[in-house]
């Protein structure tokens, strides 16, 4: 998969590219509006991460260009927190999702995947990993073809962690993904642990392998290794 990344902060761009390259995603960085524009005229991309604030232009204009020239390209708008107008305008002219800075890399990854799934499978999308099957439209989980009843939170956490398969997902990233930005105001994120614990038990009881690992006390990882 080829992604066009517009981001003028070099180190941030590098981190995003690092993270995504391990997912097998190839990123092309454009740090100015004009560079992004000329790249879009030459190459085709599956996906574009568009920063609204660019040194020589606005990402809103880039979205129009993408929509015109490469309508199949998925778009996620990235902007500073609280700029609600940017969000609404971005979504109005065809962006698929919106992310506020600063964000967790795991969150970005999950959003890209979610948008890609919607695009690729035309709505009928499912994730299958070994004995696990997640039906994303119906929000249902099957283990060895048996339906497993999950709470809303458990399902959301599982999907988020699975989307970031083989990556460490921090408790903060999970909290912000599920409960929103403001929820990340607790030092003690025990409630995440409670849900994970219940989720693990349900998976284990259904005969699923132990893929959900705790890492460093910082977060969790869904791993087949």
């Amino acid at each position: 998969m080829k992604i066009l990344l517009t981001e003028d902060e070099k180190e941030l761009a590098k981190s995003i590219m690092d993270f995504l390259s391990k997912e097998g995603i190839f990123c092309k960085l454009a740090d100015t509006f004009h560079e992004a524009k000329s790249l879009l005229h030459i190459y085709e991309y599956d996906f574009a991460l568009v920063d609204i604030m660019l040194p020589d232009g606005t990402g809103i204009d880039l979205i129009s260009i993408i929509k015109q020239r490469q309508p199949q390209c998925g778009i996620i708008v990235i902007s500073a927190k609280g700029a609600l107008d940017d969000k609404l305008r971005g979504l109005e002219i065809g962006a698929d999702d919106y992310l506020t800075k600063p964000f967790h890399l795991a969150e970005l990854n999950a959003r890209i995947k979610s948008v890609m799934r919607r695009k690729d499978f035309d709505g009928a999308n499912k994730i299958k990993i070994k004995e696990l099957l997640i039906d994303i439209d119906k929000r249902e989980l099957f283990v060895k073809n048996n339906y497993i009843e999950l709470t809303r939170r458990e399902y959301d956490i599982l999907l988020f962690i699975v989307s970031n398969k083989e990556r460490v997902v921090t408790k903060e990233a999970i909290t912000e993904h599920i409960w929103g930005d403001d929820s990340n105001s607790f030092d003690n994120l025990n409630f995440v642990y409670t849900h994970i614990k219940n989720l693990r038990k349900k998976l284990k009881d259904a005969g699923c392998g132990d893929y959900l690992k705790s890492v460093y006390g910082i977060g969790y990882k869904f791993t087949l290794k």
Binding site: E9, L12, K101, H104, L105, E172, W179, D182, I218
Partner: protein
Amino acid sequence: MKLLNKITLNYFKNTAIVFFFALGILYLVIDQIIISEVNEQLRKTNREVREKLESGIIVDYHPFVEISEVNLIPAEYDKYDDVEISYNGKKGEEIFRQYVAYTNINGKNYKIITRSSLIEKEDLFWTILLLMSSILVILLIVLFYANRKAAKNIFKPFYENLKILDSFTLQNNNEFVLEKSNISEFERLNDSLLELSKKAKKEYNLLKEFTEDLSHELQTPVSIIKTKLELIIQKEINDSETEDNYQAIYQNINKLDRLNRTLLLLTKLESPDFFPSRTISVKAALQKAVDVYSDAAESENIKISLLLNSEITVEMNETLIETLLNNLFSNSIKHNYQNGEVIVELDENKLIVKNTGETPVNNPENYFNRFTRSYKSKDSTGLGLSVVKKICDLYGMKISYTFEKSHHTVIIIF
């Protein structure tokens, strides 16, 4: 006491002193004139009585004229004095001025006393006193009303300006326009106030810009550190000390990020233009916020009770009402204890959030200030309530905090 009343009162005091002093002098002068007049009158009568006596007619008209024969003429004669005499069966005694003179007529010594009543003098005194007092009272009344009327005109710009000053805040950028006055002191005061407000605004804006720039500039390095750390922890490590260090770094960079975001929000709240409003149901917003925090509450076994008795809507920015409620909820859970409770009441136009918790040790009034925490700083950035207060201020909603019956209680009136 009002300035004008003070001045008037002072004026009254001085006027009264001058008046009574003048009254005294007036009395003494008139008294002197009357006495000398009476004396002359008495001497004249005495002369007439003596002339009559010389021609053999004895005039005796008690108490005004008394003639008596005496053996000796004392060394000192011809003297005036005041005596009290009762006559004609009249009750009480009257004051008379008498002139006692001795004379020798045809070899006989006579003592002639002529008298004149002084009752008129007394009357005169009271008349003067009454007259002067009436003038004083009339003057005071006229002065009082005249001053009051004048004060309305003179002090009108002053009071108008006071009203303007009362509503002065550093937050809004429009300069205040003070009412003009033709009194030089007031004009000078106005000039000084304008100058002062300009200086205060300038300093305030500099400080605001500094905070804003600072949190802006911090944002990028903080997010770079965060994402780099996220990359670092992807690598396998088998060393518990490094794990602990990562954990500490990660938690603290998160805290820094949170703090910075909140500060940025606080500076943005200074300019309401950032936040377009729309009609929002408070009940729905509350239910959404409860949904966010129910898990955090559950893990501490805190019971959340919702008593939503009214359907009110507010014109607010969606993000801001979320931030407001989220801050209230997270506070009510953070500053709580295990198995505690949170009670949320929505009644008419009032939102009440009550929660169990330890008795606060600081002055609760300071809770709305930045970086003020109660008994301990568990999880808290110390900015939560000041964000809440700022949002309330922005929309003109009243907020109060009390601690009663072992419950922290925050009341917001929409």
